[in-house]
């Protein structure tokens, strides 16, 4: 039936990816929302690339960049004694890059929607930029931040191409649920395949429905509360 080992690994990968995207994606989203720099369009395009590139292309470049023949790969090997490709760390790095637009775009959109005058008001009242961001921008944009994390979680759950290219298919280390599904189909284990596919579908749908419900609840009291 369902490959439980692959399932736990996938959930761990998706959760770690979302957490890392909160740490890395939020400052990037904040920069995109605030900057007037000309470099902005280039950074936006870079962030959105994983949306349109075939995952295999992304996987190929990561493999080439992180493999033992590259400087970065050798440095990682020297530091950790392990190779990035075909390891959980490599898989995590690949997932973070592949899910970057799913996290950054909703976060940046929500932060851009915060009226700049509110931040200016906070500055005149003595707040530093960072403090105003934490006290005003984040509380107003948090549904977008949560969306970004949920979407990147859901996207990592189902990612296939990048995972196969970078992670390979090592049970307990890099074998994720979507790869397990592929294996089931290859082995003509249609019952297990159906169970796995159904689980992925149900999990993704539930997560998205919860996010949308959360956003409605978050915005409605601000938009039109009882008078």
């Amino acid at each position: 039936m369902i490959d439980v080992e692959a399932l736990t690994l996938t959930v761990r990968l998706a959760a770690t990816t979302s957490a890392m995207l909160l740490v890395l994606g939020l400052p990037l989203a904040a920069w995109l929302a605030a900057t007037r720099s000309r470099a902005r369009v280039l950074v936006e395009a870079l962030v959105a690339l994983p949306l349109v590139l075939p995952p295999t292309v992304l996987g190929f470049y990561l493999l080439a960049l992180l493999g033992p023949r590259s400087a970065a790969g050798r440095a990682w090997e020297a530091a950790t004694g392990a190779l990035l490709p075909f390891s959980f760390s490599g898989l995590l790095l690949a997932s973070v890059i592949a899910s970057l637009p799913f996290a950054v775009q909703p976060m940046a959109a929500a932060l851009s929607a915060v009226d700049r005058r509110l931040l200016e008001a906070a500055w005149t009242l003595g707040d530093s930029r960072l403090r105003a961001f934490a006290r005003v921008a984040l509380p107003l944009a948090w549904p977008g931040v949560v969306s970004g994390m949920v979407l990147s979680f859901a996207h990592t759950l189902g990612e296939f191409g990048v995972v196969l290219m970078v992670g390979g298919n090592i049970p307990g280390r890099t074998r994720t649920i979507s790869i397990a599904l592929y294996d089931h189909v290859q082995a003509l284990e249609y019952e297990a395949a159906a169970a796995t596919a159904g689980l992925l579908l149900a999990a993704s749908f539930t997560v998205l429905a919860l996010t949308f419900a959360l956003q409605r609840r978050a915005f409605s009291p601000l938009a039109a509360g009882p008078r």
């Binding site: 007037r36 009226d115 005058r117 509110l118 200016e120 008001a121 906070a122 500055w123 005149t124 009242l125 003595g126 707040d127 530093s128 006290r135 005003v136 509380p139 107003l140 009291p221 601000l222 938009a223 039109a224 509360g225 009882p226 008078r227």
Partner: protein
């Protein structure tokens, strides 16, 4: 002690250049007045530290806030800023909004004192901005700005987002509050009633430059040029020609075929601009009283337009002329478009600008 000393040039990205050169007293309200888009808000933002002038300086109470190589960040200027539509924090209730700039012990009590002072009813202190009326929101914005005891209060069209009855009510209270606080304040408005009601001094901004600054009555009654005259609401600005010097500092000019007597400002030579405020013109019918310093022109009414509680009467005296009169006297004089009436005004009300 001096107030603001401004002499700078600034520009929004892609926007026109705005120049400001004037000083304010160390107390009282200075109104930045001018038509929309003239650059008033840009000047205010440069004083607040939200915009950085390209050159020149901003000084307050002898302290340099910005100059070449100097820029005191907005957080350290200790200004209270009231935005046009309040810009309240939507996720915080009125009390937390007012307490936002306060730190440490007793900040709740200080926030409540500020709300009280700004006249927000106690029952509204726990409400969020979306649950407050426009007037209540502006009171919270005011409370938030004054709670941290700023050194300078900046108000950007604080009443313009309100409807007329709320605006007039709050205008009176705002004047009382500004007097009570005794804080120097810079207030942006394009509404001359607001300017007259709230300002002690005034700087007129037109097309990105401060064209005249001084005590408010001086600017209103003695505009420096025709643009300022038009902006502050001298309804009648017409070309005139000097015809005779009458002695006693009086001069007779000819405008639109009429002889008008005014006070000689000096430096008048041939061509001039005649400025006359609608408030100075009274309408009469019947026998003229003899008075040498009075102008009395036979006019035809061209249009009547309500202006608040008053009626604005557009007249043709050979040149277009405006008068303000109460609705009662409009009715008593049976004014309708086309009727004839005499427009009377004293010579000192006639402001002549050399051209």
């Amino acid at each position: 002690m001096s107030g603001l000393e401004l002499d700078f040039e600034t520009a929004l990205p892609g926007g026109p250049v705005v120049r400001a050169q004037f000083a304010t007293a160390s107390s009282g309200v200075c109104v930045l007045f001018g038509p929309s888009g003239a650059g008033k808000t840009t000047i205010l933002r440069s004083v607040a530290g939200l915009a950085r002038p390209r050159r020149g300086h901003v000084r307050f109470a002898g302290e340099t806030w910005s100059a070449d190589g100097v820029f005191l960040p907005v957080q350290r200027r200790r200004v209270g800023l009231v935005f046009q539509e309040g810009a309240l924090f939507p996720h915080l209730d009125a009390r937390r909004n007012a307490a936002y700039g306060l730190r440490g012990d007793g900040h709740r009590g200080r926030a409540e004192a500020a709300l009280d002072r700004a006249g927000l009813p106690r029952g509204a202190w726990g409400r969020r901005p979306a649950q407050l009326s426009g007037g209540e929101r502006q009171r919270v914005a005011l409370a938030r700005a004054i709670a941290p005891e700023p050194r300078l209060l900046l108000l950007d069209e604080p009443l313009s987002s309100l409807d007329a009855p709320a605006r007039e009510g709050l205008r009176g209270e705002l004047r009382r509050l500004l007097r009570e606080l005794g804080l120097p304040a810079l207030l942006v408005t394009h509404d001359r009633h607001e300017a007259l009601a709230l300002g002690d001094a005034m700087a007129v901004v037109i097309d990105g430059a401060v064209r005249q600054a001084g005590p408010i009555d001086a600017v209103f009654s003695r505009p420096a040029d025709a643009d300022v005259a038009r902006a502050v609401g001298v309804e009648t600005v017409v070309p005139a020609r000097v015809v005779e010097r009458l002695g006693d500092g009086l001069v007779a000019v000819e405008a639109g075929g009429c002889r008008v007597i005014g006070v000689d400002p000096g430096g008048l030579d041939g061509e001039a601009l005649l400025c006359l405020r609608a408030e100075e013109v009274t309408l009469e019918r019947g026998q003229p009283e003899a008075s040498s310093a009075r102008n009395r022109l036979a006019c035809r009414v061209t249009a009547l337009q309500p202006d608040g509680a008053l009626m604005r009467v557009a007249l043709d005296a050979g040149f277009p002329l405006s008068a303000l009169c109460s609705r009662g006297s409009c009715a008593a004089l049976e004014l309708v478009p086309g009727s004839t009436i005499d427009a009377c005004f004293k010579a000192p009300a006639v402001h002549l600008l050399p051209r």
